[in-house]
């Protein structure tokens, strides 16, 4: 662990300014997109913008971009575990028999089963 690893990276104010402006523009985009009905892509667009914003905050405001590799590894581990949580939970939702887009209460889902097999 060298001393440089711990030294603070100096970030010029212009970078911060650019990032905050980008974040504000993206916030505006989210608000704007809320007024446009994109159907099933409403949630996709909103989450995509939110992900970009979160990435910018982590990289620049939280200095992950200038951090030692070990810190980056920890961040990646966190993201990986989040992916496990989301992905494996989805493994339930996308393989249920009502995956065609219609939301069933569970009782109806189980009633649906014999019909599907038949």
């Amino acid at each position: 662990m060298s001393e440089q690893e711990h030294s603070e990276h100096i970030v010029p104010p212009s970078t911060y300014l650019a990032i905050i402006l980008t974040l504000l523009v993206l916030t505006g985009t989210t608000v704007g997109a809320a007024f446009v009905n994109l159907g099933r892509f409403n949630i996709v667009v909103a989450l995509a913008i939110a992900t970009v914003k979160a990435t910018l905050v982590v990289l620049f405001f939280m200095h992950a971009k200038y951090s030692p590799k070990r810190t980056k590894l920890i961040i990646l581990a966190g993201i990986f575990w989040l992916a496990l949580l989301l992905g494996m939970t989805l493994s339930d939702y996308i393989t249920r028999v009502d995956y065609r887009g219609v939301r069933f209460p569970i009782s109806q889902v189980t009633q649906q089963l014999p019909a599907q097999r038949g």
Partner: protein, 558 residues
């Protein structure tokens, strides 16, 4: 220590962490990991007895089929608060925050944890969370089950859910801080020569536990926050009427709460991995595999959570995958168990109290673990889901495994923590009472569950009474088994025989310093030149007899 009776009468060292400073401030503002461990010891013991009190009420109530003691509502509150107190406020912090806090720095040759003030903060966070939950208990109680399932917890329950949820939420941060502290400490503060593969297995187990704590606990925090918002502000995350999904709550809840089982059992496995080599006088068999098994359990443990939800209406295909993954966890668990047994083989075994707890752990964990496979199997789970079979299974893991490990560890390290020995024979009898009481309490519950008695019911058909009477009788014996150590360990801390630095003797670095240790742990930073659990190349242990003729001198207190 009769073989080394020539040694002069032992006295406590003049300076140690207990007499370094005095007064209430010196305890409440301490940054010494050993004193913080004792603060935790008092707090978790307090919650253990609260949880135990609720357990006794449950068992007394179930003595008769129609349950005269409590009303149905009160019964719901009793088992809920038993679970909340025991899981979140006793089992999860018990071994890590008490024994881990005390011994990880000593075992790796460090002066303290990496962040002593964060360590103290973690205790205060725990106390604040505990205060909220205690408030919930005295202001109407909690009746949702410890799992806080929605929509009961968010819409229908009229008990004090909000303060309990806030309490568990806050306490989670104490767990995260402890895990963080351990990880950084183990990475950065090992003494010279203490390489990764010279770390005691207790440290490896806590490393794996810390990973689970850091990666899992935030999920329970956010899940409970969502449930709290749904209850207080009517948001619809888990409410189908508003487009939410109650099963989503269960996914999120168990993403943490299943790995939380490994937060409880992994440190206990760490303790057992210390006890067995010490009292078998033999190097731990398959050191690398036991260490890797800890990490494997921590990782695979994250991938099995929906086995709690096989019958909730989740996808059958997902259930298949999770059932398979559940069976995978059995592999590293079996690796550990077989390695412990292989360590015993050909060892010079002594039956001091900590070893009795280790034997207890082996048998009970084996039963608890194997019955877990019954539950992880899709077919059998339909029959025994939500019955007393489940209750018996997880008590074999959590009480038979985690608490046996905790008590074994407490007895093993009590001489180091206090400088004094506990009364050996009384302790052996207590361990035996505990083992008998435990099995009498929980084995009949396997039968009850198999016969179809559902858990969490306050009445049951009369034909189940004989098993319930056995279980209640066992619980009474178990209670004595817990009270005895509490009494004699407290007594021993003040009046026990002075133990000396290394009474067993054991090989860990913590036994190289005085008992009780200095505030700074070691007078000079130790340099490690030996392999872990190596009894043969350690003349400092006074075990030359082992090397020359294979016969160990008598040890322990007798």
């Amino acid at each position: 220590m009769s073989a080394t009776a020539a040694a002069p009468v032992k006295t406590l060292p003049e300076h140690h962490y207990l007499n370094a400073t005095y007064g209430i401030r010196s305890w409440l503002l301490t940054v010494d990991h050993k004193r913080i461990a004792l603060l935790y010891l008092v707090s978790v013991t307090f919650f253990f007895f609260i949880g135990g009190f609720f357990a006794m009420l449950i068992r007394l109530h179930l003595l008769t089929p129609s349950g005269y003691l409590l009303s149905a509502d009160t019964y719901n509150r009793m088992f809920t608060m038993h679970g909340v107190a025991m899981i979140f406020f006793f089992l999860i912090p018990s071994i890590p925050a008490v024994l881990g806090n005390f011994f990880i720095p000593l075992m790796i040759g460090a002066k303290d944890l990496a962040f002593p003030k964060i360590n103290l903060l973690s205790w205060y966070v725990y106390v604040v969370g505990a205060a909220f939950t205690l408030y919930s208990m005295v202001s109407g109680g909690l009746d949702t089950g410890w799992t806080f399932y929605t929509p009961l917890s968010t819409i229908y329950s009229n008990s004090a859910v909000a303060p309990a949820v806030v309490g568990v939420f806050i306490t989670g941060f104490s767990s995260i801080l402890t895990g963080l502290n351990f990880l950084v400490t183990i990475h950065t503060m090992r003494a010279p020569g203490m390489t990764w593969f010279r770390l005691p297995m207790f440290v490896w187990a806590h490393y794996a536990t810390s990973i689970v704590m850091i990666l899992g606990t935030p999920v329970i925090a956010i899940t409970l926050a969502l449930a709290g918002m749904e209850r207080l502000f009517g948001l619809g995350f888990f409410n189908p009427a508003m487009g939410g999904d109650p099963i989503l709550f269960q996914h999120l809840f168990w993403f943490y709460s299943h790995p939380a089982v490994y937060i409880m059992i992994l440190p206990a496995m760490g303790v057992i991995s210390e006890l067995i080599p010490t009292f078998a006088r033999k190097q731990l068999f398959g050191y690398h595999f036991v260490a890797a098994a800890s990490l494997a359990i921590a990782v695979i443990g994250f991938l099995v959570w929906t086995h709690h939800m096989f019958l909730t209406g989740q996808s059958t295909y997902a259930a298949l995958a999770f059932s398979f993954l559940t069976f995978l966890v059995a592999i590293p668990s079996a690796v550990k168990t077989f390695n412990w047994v292989a360590t015993l083989y050909g060892g010079s075994i002594s039956f001091d109290t900590p070893m009795l707890y280790a034997f207890g752990f082996l048998g009970l964990f084996l039963i608890g673990g194997l019955t877990g496979l019954f539950l992880g199997c899709l077919g059998t789970d339909i029959h025994i889901h939500d019955t007393y079979f489940v209750v018996a299974h997880f008590h074999y893991i959590m009480v038979g495994g985690a608490i046996m490990g905790y008590l074994g560890g407490l007895h093993f390290w009590w001489p180091k923590m206090t400088g004094r020995m506990y009364p050996e024979w009384l302790a052996r009898i207590a361990a035996l009472i505990l083992f008998v009481g435990f099995n009498l309490t929980f084995f009949p519950q396997f039968l009850l569950g198999y016969l179809g008695m559902p858990r969490r019911y306050h009445v049951y058909p009369p034909e189940f009474q004989v098993y319930n009477v056995m279980s209640t009788a066992g619980a009474s014996i178990l209670a004595i088994g817990y009270l005895l150590p509490m009494i004699y360990l407290t007594w021993a801390a003040f009046f026990g025989k002075v133990a000396g630095d290394n009474p067993w003797p054991a090989t860990g670095l913590e036994w190289k310093t005085q008992s009780p240790p200095l505030t700074e742990n070691f007078e000079v930073t130790p340099i490690v030149t030996w392999e872990p659990y190596d009894f043969h190349n350690r003349p400092d242990l006074g075990l030359d007899a082992v090397a020359s003729n294979g016969v160990a001198p008598a040890h322990g207190d007798d």
